[in-house]
Symmetry: C2
Subunit: 284 residues, 2 copies
């Protein structure tokens, strides 16, 4: 049994990057929705792990959020979405939203010529999940996929606009260069932080697709379709019109490693201080 519409929405990431998805959800969902964020910061990154390890970590996180009574699960991590979504849907009885399908839809809407690039972690690219989903959504599409493992630690280091970031992005992306490429999917939640340098490198003719907004829209539509939007949400009060409380006041953040770094980097991601941060043990 999953909780009804009063339950919170679980947002699950391997670490900090999923806060880009949290932010988009907060901007898209009614203020009455509560979000529970889990970042497995003790074991980040997932993108360099083997498949069995990613699935095990994903199930442990989903069980933790299920015990906290969430009504739906948003998997904010591309690696988990690519590798563990089926396992999560078998295990968790409520709706499960990943970031790959929404990103693929956005990319198919954006491309003109049908040549799409995808960059992501080693595990995401190796899984072939983007290539399969793009081909299914738009037969005949040409996909150039490339793993860029160093971009996650670069973003975590805050080196998003210096010589090192430029050298790394250039070294990776010259492997993708083709005049036909008109759309590039940022297939990892950390990569939007490097958007400026990536855009400089690929040039203005290429649309960069960040799946956070698309994922938030899919989540809202899915909850609405299943009658699971929070009570009061039917008024569709636009965010910002409630003077009594900030929409995020009921939200709660959980991490599996010491929280100092998450507080610091997370507040930078969100543009406001992070409240209600709790250190948890997934084996509890």
């Amino acid at each position: 049994m999953t909780p009804g519409r009063e339950g919170a929405i679980g947002v699950f990431d391997s670490g900090i990057g999923g806060l880009t998805v949290y932010k988009a959800l907060r901007e898209t969902l009614p203020a009455t929705e509560r979000l529970l964020y889990l970042g497995d910061t003790a074991r980040v990154p997932y993108g360099t792990r083997g498949d069995a390890t990613v699935v095990r970590y994903a199930l442990e996180g989903a069980r933790f959020l299920a015990r906290r009574g969430v009504k739906a699960l948003v998997v904010a991590c591309n690696t988990m979405s690519a590798i563990a979504l089926d396992a999560l849907r078998r295990e968790y009885p409520g709706p499960v939203v990943g970031v790959i399908e929404p990103g693929v839809e956005a990319a198919c809407n954006a491309t003109r010529g049908g040549t799409i690039g995808v960059i992501g972690t080693a595990a995401t690219i190796k899984s072939g999940a983007y290539t399969r989903a793009l081909a299914a959504r738009r037969p005949g599409v040409r996909v150039a996929a490339l793993a860029c493992p160093l971009l996650v630690p670069l973003a975590e280091e805050g080196w998003v606009d210096n010589d090192v970031a430029r050298a790394a992005v250039h070294t990776y992306l010259r492997g993708l260069a083709t005049p036909a490429l008109d759309t590039l999917v940022l297939g990892c939640t950390h990569y939007p932080l490097l958007k400026k340098v990536i855009a400089e490198t690929v040039g203005t003719g290429v649309v960069l697709v960040d799946s956070a907004d698309a994922t938030a829209n899919v989540t809202r539509a899915l909850l609405s379709g299943k009658g699971l939007l929070a009570p009061g949400a039917a008024d569709a009060t636009p965010p910002g019109t409630r003077a009594t409380a900030h929409p995020a006041d009921g939200d709660h953040f959980h991490v599996t490693d010491s929280s100092e770094r998450f507080l610091e980097v997370g507040s930078r991601f969100l543009g406001r201080p992070l409240a209600r941060l709790e250190l948890v043990d997934l084996q509890e």
Copy 2:
């Protein structure tokens, strides 16, 4: 009770980097010694984790090796040596050797003017372990310590001699630059892979200290002093003189994540194929 001199030596690292220490041990110890290597590749890197998490992971690894009957523990990871050595010595009854003391001794022998630089992971540098140990060993020493978090993923990516490596090393090390610096401790087992670029950046006047050899010598002396060298070792048969078997034939490698990557990178580290590789669960 720990096993006697017939037991193997446990070599424990957060991942692949500790193979530099394994290699030095193999070159220094008699051929009759057996080594059990454990790389916690499912949770690497430790250097960006909080202290409590590093201690928990270290104890889990030590318990695993103790169950496999090792007679001594060599902690090949600087982060664990900096943060968890006391906890390991309280928990594990046999001799425990870390990499920091041997590296500090080598640095104090190498410096002429008494100004020593130390680079390492965020956790190692934040712990202050090198600064304290250098000051205790050589009062009046001047220490410049700097965290270089991106160098581990760079080495793991195999980017050790390209534009990205040069830009990263240069960006970090200009923060250490002082004409007085004559010795630089590579306070992370991954950094020797970047030795060429680091040497180019700091110039020929600076001695680079890699603690692997020093750690192997300390391990041999400690085992000898406690009567724990393997039977047959007293002959001090120099490695290479035994025609019947390679000294490493009895060694065994354990990893906590899929082993493909470890096999590939590890064989590059050692210059020979890795045999006897086993995927293990530390919670088994």
